[in-house]
Symmetry: C2
Subunit: 151 residues, 2 copies
DNA sequence: GCTTGCCTGTTAAAATTTAACACTTGCTAC
DNA sequence: GTAGCAAGTGTTAAATTTTAACAGGCAAGC
């Protein structure tokens, strides 16, 4: 997501977050907004500690509770291979499966949407009589920008 | 992997581990073997603590070092969404991408091999000029056995 | 105004992972 | 065979990450 109009990107994410909370009958409180805005400063993965350091109220439970809420609400993704977090750009679609291209050099994350890969996986799961509930797809590697920089 | 002849399964995994170490010019030491055999008692995900509890030498660094080695050597997978580990059944192929069906009820893991899903992902990555190095594909859900049990 | 449920603030503690460093072991070169 | 080296271990402790527990506050509905 290096080529986004990020001001716009962030604004619309905030709008979407408010809408989702409204719909869930939950509140988009100061703490939750604080975490959300910090994450949306960029598309880079941030650990809980990274986020906590930038928060107004820096106490661990505050941070973890907000992260937990945002994750459950589908507003952010937990990047399991880095144990970090990133804002979700498909929050509109609560059933989408996050497919993350994660740059190990700059930690920038590009969330893509190839339905094909997912449908192949679901097909394979069905073959094994496996009923999926939550899927993580994460590719670690080097992004376009970092690739160009080193060459 | 509920339908495997597990004695056989485990024996051949051990053979393979010895071969891989040989080839890497590394040693399959007592500690590494200890961790490996504990993991291969079943196809269930085990946390570092689970494993440590069953080891002869129960000191954290011993456990973590062995896990690190086995992971780097491609003999086990780190199951990032559970922060746990499981033996790899495709260790012969050092370049394969682990695709794990993880039962959240019994923690049993079925490693599958649909090349289609992977090739779709790689295609998508290429479209973004992203150079992948390590990919995690993990589906959490309910396995066949557990499904039948509850119905 | 009072209840009820959600959310916060605060203090600790538990769980997980890593650093540092001295020591041992197996191998190779002399 | 023995000196030197790299790989692996043992041990102590600390850093990092995550969670428990509980008291208090705030907003919406009766
Ligand atoms: Zn997403
Ligand atoms: Zn990058
Ligand atoms: Zn594997
Ligand atoms: Zn199961």
């Amino acid at each position: 997501m290096t080529n986004c109009d990020h001001t716009l990107c962030k604004t619309s994410a905030l709008k979407e977050a408010e809408r989702v909370c409204e719909q869930l009958g939950a509140r988009f409180t100061d703490q939750r907004r604080n975490v959300f805005e910090i994450l949306w400063q960029s598309h880079k993965a941030m650990t809980a500690a990274d986020i906590m350091n930038e928060m107004t109220n820096k106490q661990p439970p505050i941070t973890y509770r907000a992260l937990e809420f945002l994750k459950k609400s589908g507003l952010i993704h937990h990047v399991t291979s880095l144990n970090a977090y990133v804002g979700c750009i498909y929050a509109k679609d609560p059933n989408h499966i996050g497919q993350l291209l994660i740059c190990t050099n700059c930690r920038d994350i590009n969330e893509i949407e190839p339905k094909n890969a997912v449908s192949e996986l679901i097909k394979a799961a069905k073959n094994q009589d496996f009923t999926p509930s939550l899927t993580h797809i994460e590719m670690l590697g080097i992004c376009k920008t970092c690739n160009n920089a080193t060459s």
